[in-house]
Amino acid sequence: MSKVIKLKKGLDIKLNGKAKKVLVKSNEAKVCAIKPTDFLNITPRLTVKSDFVVKTGDVLFADKKNPRIVFTSPVSGIVKAINRGERRKLLEIVIQCDEKHEFKDFGKANVNSLKREDIVSKLLESGIWPSIIQRPYAIVADPGITPKAIFVSGFDSAPLGPDYEFVLNDRKDDLQTGFDCLKQLCGKNVNLGLKNTNSIFSNFKNIEINYFYGPHPAGNTGVQIHHISPINKGENVWTVNIQDVAMIGHLFNTGKYDPEKIIAITGSEIKKPAYVKTFTGASVKSLLDDNLKGECNERIILGNVLTGEKTNEEGYVGYYTNQISVIPEGNHYEFLGWMVPGFDRFSATKMFPSFLTPKKHYSLDTNFHGERRAFVISGQYEKVFPMDIYPVYLLKAMLAEDIDKMEQLGIYEVAPEDFALCEFVCTSKIPVQRIVRQGLNLVMKETN
């Protein structure tokens, strides 16, 4: 039975630069890179060196702890460079693309007739496995376990988030195969979260649809899991982005690992916000070429403005990127900024006159708007946190590194992205997502 969940808590931040529903062609990327830093709880061990020739789907590196989890090349070409950071940390494996577009063949297969173990092996060897994220901890899923449920969100409620119905409009076959495959993995129908009843996603088989109405973060899988099947200690739930479900389906339908995806180019500093077809690892430059307004210093973000990762024009599309946001940097002073009325400033509180114009869209920059302080205002996080969890108490337990308390207060149910709005609204400018990540890492280290 599908459930209908109406969420009141949350916040929609209305920004300028929403992507128009048109697919534009981008310049073909000549170089691409895979970034081991995209993957959480993975220690990479390289299997290629500079000048190796690779096909799409060839292994680039594997996880040291679990060598079955491999990461494969998104293009065919030559390994051009292996970039390392401090203490020789592996940052990027840069590949010069060739024109041959050669694919490694993993073999077509009918998902419904395969055994679970065969499906897992195929996902692992093709390098698609890391698209499956496990909760607790929000890390790459452990192939050795069977989750109690798999959750997929059919919509992105984050600021300027991509419209997956537009993105996946002509990939219904791949999606169906993807859902079939995921059902095999957990033995139950896949939980799909939707925001309206006439969605193109509502006619698939092997899915359990639940509806979530309300502001962001209604589209976050964390919120959806919490309301449908909350995670208790010792349980595991997997989440997969819906575009990756299509990628999984494509693997079984064609036998190829195809890292192609459509991402939304958004933000107030983009001339023509729209969708582009590209692939994992493509260079950011090839996507933004000529499309930046260039009126100010820009910040280029892989992902949305709340949870994304900062990059620059020399960066590369990440494994989990479905959106690029470009907003102005806010490195400027503001004279008596805390006192002036501030008609153009957005706040979840009503301390700025902008609350009188709720429909207005803003071009927000990256200014911190204040300085870091201790927790002072109470009740602020709760307004944007639609879960039965006390966010501030959980955060304090994390800061105190009290694992028992964290367990009691619900750490297994959360991921940093669920706290993104708390971080946004925080008067004291507390680095909430970082604290949550550190808390999760600590619990993971101490309990496993």
Binding site: I13, P159, N232, K233, R299, I301, V305, L306, T307, I327, E329, N331, H332, Y333, F335, L336, G337, W338, M339, G342, R345, F346, S347, A348, T349, K350, M351, F352, L364, D365, T366, N367, F368, H369, G370, E371, R373, A374, F375, V376, I377, S378, G379, E382, D388, Y390, Y393, Q408, L409, G410, A420, E423, F424, V425, T427, S428, P431, V432, Q433, R434
Partner: protein, 382 residues
């Protein structure tokens, strides 16, 4: 503005690590961030941030205090001249000049300690005192000697706040702690009939309505309307319930003040007063005071709107806030009516509930934990 900015940019290196004036860096950043919102950009997590900061929040509270403060100044003059015998400006100016020294002393002493504490600990100057410094002069009698105001303020900032780690870490409302310190250390300057009216020259009694009620001088209690508008003796800011309600509206509309706390304080006080009004024997003078009168007398409204709602010292959870507020209302009236020692119960009620707020929250959070643990049990049983 550019001129000022250039000047600050030029001075900045001196206060940075290794500079000559490094020791004063938190004073410098304090002033700099007062003049200019810093150019700092987001470095981790969310790339955009809400425009609100603690300065903005505090300034909204100060703004909400203004109606009560300005009326308080007028009322000081009004009480001194024994009515509107002089022109408006004469009366107001008299009160203004009486109140101003209190405000200056409170801010200078409090901010001085804040600055020094920030300097010693090497952290930034917190904005919390912007409100505390305004609250202190508003809750003490006009005739309070300035040196006592200074000592009480110092006590509140050091013992009430800094030893716990500064704004956000304190257990009690610092301004109320200043008043409590005053009340118990210098009772003769804090109560009685002589302190509420500035330079009392004539023989009219200067007792507050509450003192009159406690002593049974029921005929001396002004009618409810007068008490609501505020033309009665009392602390600077507490007399006019009307002006306090304007402040409450500002706090609630801007979302700074918490409706749950405010409402439940009034509710708790009202119900308790109704109960006592019905239960007390005729011989007790308070049995003649109605519940409505209770709410407009003394510091009840001021405490409910500006003191109980302090986000740091009140309960943190939504359910906790309702319990916390309700008990403040109940306790305030209970102390007021049944304890002959203190004519006013609001201050002690709030401080008492500040102490118990973490306990209330503990029970609320514990019930959340129990829900989560029960979920596991149900799963295991299935």
């Amino acid at each position: 503005m550019n001129l000022l900015r250039n000047f600050l940019d030029k001075q900045k290196p001196k206060f940075e690590k290794g500079g000559k004036m490094y020791k004063l860096h938190s004073v410098f950043t304090g002033f700099e961030s007062f003049l200019f919102v810093p150019d700092k950009t987001t470095d981790s997590g969310a790339h955009i941030r809400d425009a609100v900061d603690l300065k903005r929040t505090m300034i909204v509270v100060v703004l909400a205090l203004m109606p009560a403060l300005l009326f308080g100044m007028y009322n000081i003059g009004y009480q001194h001249f024994g009515g509107a015998t002089e022109g408006f400006w004469t009366i107001f100016l008299y009160g203004f000049l009486k109140v101003l020294p209190l405000i200056i002393v409170s801010y200078v002493v409090g901010l001085g300690i804040e600055f020094a504490a920030a300097q010693i600990r090497g952290h930034e100057i917190n904005e919390g005192f912007l409100v505390t410094g305004m609250l202190i002069p508003m809750i003490i009698p006009i005739e309070a000697p300035l040196w006592m105001v200074a000592v009480a303020t110092a006590f509140a900032v050091i013992i009430g706040k800094e030893i716990f780690g500064g704004t956000g870490m304190n257990i009690w409302n610092p301004a109320l702690l200043a008043r409590a310190f005053f009340f118990f250390s210098y009772p003769s300057q804090m109560s009685g009939d002589a302190v509420w009216i500035a330079d009392k020259t004539d023989v009219i009694s200067g007792a507050t309505p509450l003192a009159n009620a406690a002593q049974g001088f029921l005929d001396k209690i002004p009618d409810t309307a007068t008490m609501f508008w505020g033309f009665i003796p009392g602390s600077v800011g507490e007399t006019s319930t009307f002006c306090i309600l304007i402040g409450a509206i500002i706090l609630l509309c801007s979302g700074v003040g918490n409706l749950r706390v405010m409402f439940s304080v009034f509710l708790g006080g009202f119900l308790m007063a109704c109960l006592l009004h019905g239960l007390l024997p005729e011989t007790n003078s308070y049995s003649h005071i109605s519940a409505l009168q209770h709410l407009v007398m003394g510091g009840f409204a001021f405490g409910a709107v500006f003191m109980a709602t302090d986000p740091v010292s009140s309960a943190q959870t939504n359910v906790g806030k309702i319990i916390y507020g309700f008990l403040i209302g109940v306790m305030a009236i209970l102390i007021r009516v049944l304890n002959p020692g203190y004519p006013e119960g609001m201050m002690l009620a709030i401080l008492l509930m500040n102490t118990f707020a973490p306990l209330i929250d503990w029970f609320v959070v514990q019930s959340n934990i129990r829900r989560r643990m029960n979920r596991i049990k149900i799963n295991v049983n299935n």
